[in-house]
Assembly symmetry: C2
Homo-oligomer: 558 residues x 2
Amino acid sequence: MARPRMRAIPLGGIGEVGKNMMVVEYRGDMVMIDSGTKFPEEEMRGIDLIIPDITYVIENIQRFRAILITHGHEDHIGSLPYVLPQLERIAPIPIYGSPLALAFARSRLDEARNAHLADFMPIEPGITYNIGQHMEVEFIPVTHSIPGSMAVAVKTPVGRMIHTGDFKFDPTPPLGPRTDEERLKELGDEGVLALFSDTVRIERKEATPSESTVSATLDRIIGGAQGRVILTSFASNILRLEQAIQVGARHGRKVGVVGRSMEQSVKVAIDLGYIQPPPGVMLPTDEVIKLPKDQILILTTGSQGEASAALARMASGDHPLLRIQEGDTVILSATPVPGNEETVAQTIDNLFKRGANVCYSAIEPSIHVSGHGGADELKQMIELVRPTFCIPIHGEHRHLHLYRQMAIDAGIPPENTLIPESGVPVSFSRSDMRKEPAVAYGAVLVDGLGTDRYRNVVLRHRDQLANTQVVIATVIVDLERGVLIAGPELTGKGFDDEDSRDLIEAAERELKNYLERQLRKGGMSYGYLVSRVKDVVARYIFQKAKLRPMILPVVTEL
Amino acid sequence: MARPRMRAIPLGGIGEVGKNMMVVEYRGDMVMIDSGTKFPEEEMRGIDLIIPDITYVIENIQRFRAILITHGHEDHIGSLPYVLPQLERIAPIPIYGSPLALAFARSRLDEARNAHLADFMPIEPGITYNIGQHMEVEFIPVTHSIPGSMAVAVKTPVGRMIHTGDFKFDPTPPLGPRTDEERLKELGDEGVLALFSDTVRIERKEATPSESTVSATLDRIIGGAQGRVILTSFASNILRLEQAIQVGARHGRKVGVVGRSMEQSVKVAIDLGYIQPPPGVMLPTDEVIKLPKDQILILTTGSQGEASAALARMASGDHPLLRIQEGDTVILSATPVPGNEETVAQTIDNLFKRGANVCYSAIEPSIHVSGHGGADELKQMIELVRPTFCIPIHGEHRHLHLYRQMAIDAGIPPENTLIPESGVPVSFSRSDMRKEPAVAYGAVLVDGLGTDRYRNVVLRHRDQLANTQVVIATVIVDLERGVLIAGPELTGKGFDDEDSRDLIEAAERELKNYLERQLRKGGMSYGYLVSRVKDVVARYIFQKAKLRPMILPVVTEL
């Protein structure tokens, strides 16, 4: 009989392979590494989130043992609120991760009111956790743009695999330990069968600068600012927020936080001691804004130019607490995620138009550093752990390809490295690696109602969409002049009886009234309008008929 | 009575102020500087091009004297085929510009069959042209990514204004003269009232590298390639194409050109002597592809990932002459224009998937250099011409703002620099500058039928759209599986009688048949599908009813 093999299966159907979720299995044991979300592309109108299809896990639920979390970013924990209910039969599900990663995970699960499905297992580096009959799991600290980031090693009788998570080798992280090179080297000495590595920054050769380098830039800008300072970054970038708070405090500023996700994230980080603001520095925002201008530092969401986030609303004069004024300094301590370039540029233009002094990465390159390592660092990881097999994950195809080439240049035999695909198991014996036929996999589209993003949610499997009720809402507007040029026209699919048609017509009237009212008021951005069209129609149809069709808002701007 | 003033009016309603067109007037004389196009944003479905609204020029046609072209790029000459017919009453219209700029202009006008409306006036640097009663015009050579680029000086009794066009100070241009610093300085000595300057690269402080630096990179890559080499760049980047041809020839390769715009552009450049290929190097593509692989160099269109351009089709295996194979080297000698990042990334991924070795700017930064100067060069221009007034143009608002700040830092008094707006005249006396009430301005949307982009064209004024017939074509597809998930649904606006409704229904059936057929075949990209939806519907409605409604294709990918 053939010897049992260890298998690693990237799940999630769209985009970067193995980023949001991966399953590792050996005989009767299966664990999941990460459970994240992906944000949809613009062509996928009306979808809020994309999560991995876990049909394969559910089919093998009797073997499922635990979820291992590498770090607390949305693309690694964001689908937990949707995944755990699907595994309810075997709840509570053990979730292993660093205390900070688990705190973020718990906060998401609390919002969705399903934290009771989880059994949180805070890990300590250096400890080996026995999971199931055959697996020994160890977490190894790595540096990234959030503290408590870990690589995960899973050891089975076939050998040890290491999943790097997201990492770089930051020599001077502002919080937490450095990447544990010593332990990685020891594991290499003991023997590593397979390395699954982050690849997303492989296009850059040189090592990524330390997160600490941002501090000097913040000090110069905040120290030199005469008026209010408003800083935005990713809400989860605790390292950046901690640095901003310390710099602000040093220059006599009090700090207010605006935006739900950033408030949550700062609270979690303070509770766990990652952020340690000097006494009296953190104040409620409505108190901060009453201080003299040169004593104000506001941390806020919206670094990606999101239309509904606080910064874009401050820039368009539409935020209840704060409007950008002449003399404000606005710091965008982030770079646009691919696809967001234009919304970010638009926000910067709006900030300048209101008279702000805007600091952003194109003119202040050291206002942000990446959390991912460049090619030299990816190579360094290979050299530390010296794996037999080397598999790139967490990148678009070009990144995986470039990584494989780099691995070959670094001495990995070409047959010992491959480019993985979603849903396709890579299986290992002690001496060989091969791809196996694909398991069930794919993307599940998450479609929620705006106000309560976890409870009023519908999951739509992509291959069942042909049977889904759909309402397409088409509108043509001239936003500059605030004019409805054509529409709204609502078209239903799967609404064939007369009552349904009446419902669609009534929803159309409702939307028309809403739009005419709002456009007259002015100040609507394209992105905000799209989200409102969806919400107004979805809400009306749900209230009147308790139906949850998929709403596709199609807004053309002329 | 008030003394007459000189006025400069940026026209064009969307995006970068004063890039596509500007009007300069003094008493009875008016000239236009550039007549370009803008490509629409993604939210403006169904629009092919945007051109400036020239209502103001038409209202003052008795004063109109000439069009002055700074250089031969689409965003500076592309609207000539639509603008000249609107000025037909006073045709032929003198068009001044360098021989290369005029050759490109003529080629566009020939395609549109309205070259007879132009009177081409090839200029020589250093010569003064008297235009109308009061204007003296001079062209000053500048370096940019196309040879024959010029700054334009217009002198009136009020003073001299200089419009820089697009420029950098390239110390070693591969073709043509350097920026004529000496003449600019002389003009500065004589006195310059107003400088209108390119600003688009102001976010970068340092000077842009010379175009010549690309040659060494091309030499290394093409010299090291074992198989075929396929290079893409902007079709109009004659400097780049010339360098690629010379490098290819040096390494024993023959050169074929694929893609209509690049074939035209290479032909124009060879005719005018800008490109001088060694004898026997340029061959018809069908001959080149029969040569041994290491003797093949193909120049092709598609550097922006355009779905219908040759490179994307080669990458998807859909080009009749050439498919990318294992061992091919593909060079993208360009960077994505803002907004095109994702389509370019998709093309690179597809090329890697087919086994090509892909060289692109993220991994080979010196495979492309910008044609625009950095902040230090923009400052150098101010220092050369020492203008009384200094006005940034050709940039998004943030660029204009940063330029104004830089100009103030360079010694221009704050009241002597302002941020211009489309349609708002900036008027000058010898000693003051002010904004005047806006004239008619705006964007005109150009909507053409695919095959003959000039003749089957409709111009739609943005403010008349409320009265335009519109057909919205909505489709939901799963491109990966080649399945039509919902639709097509056609919705008409302004089609109220029964015949019209029948027409729309028939067009819907036609589109449905087409889509079912094509999706079964597979291999369709999102962008290509969108363009086909528009074409099929537009063509059908035109054939059956001779109507040209605006077609808005709305394709959702799931």
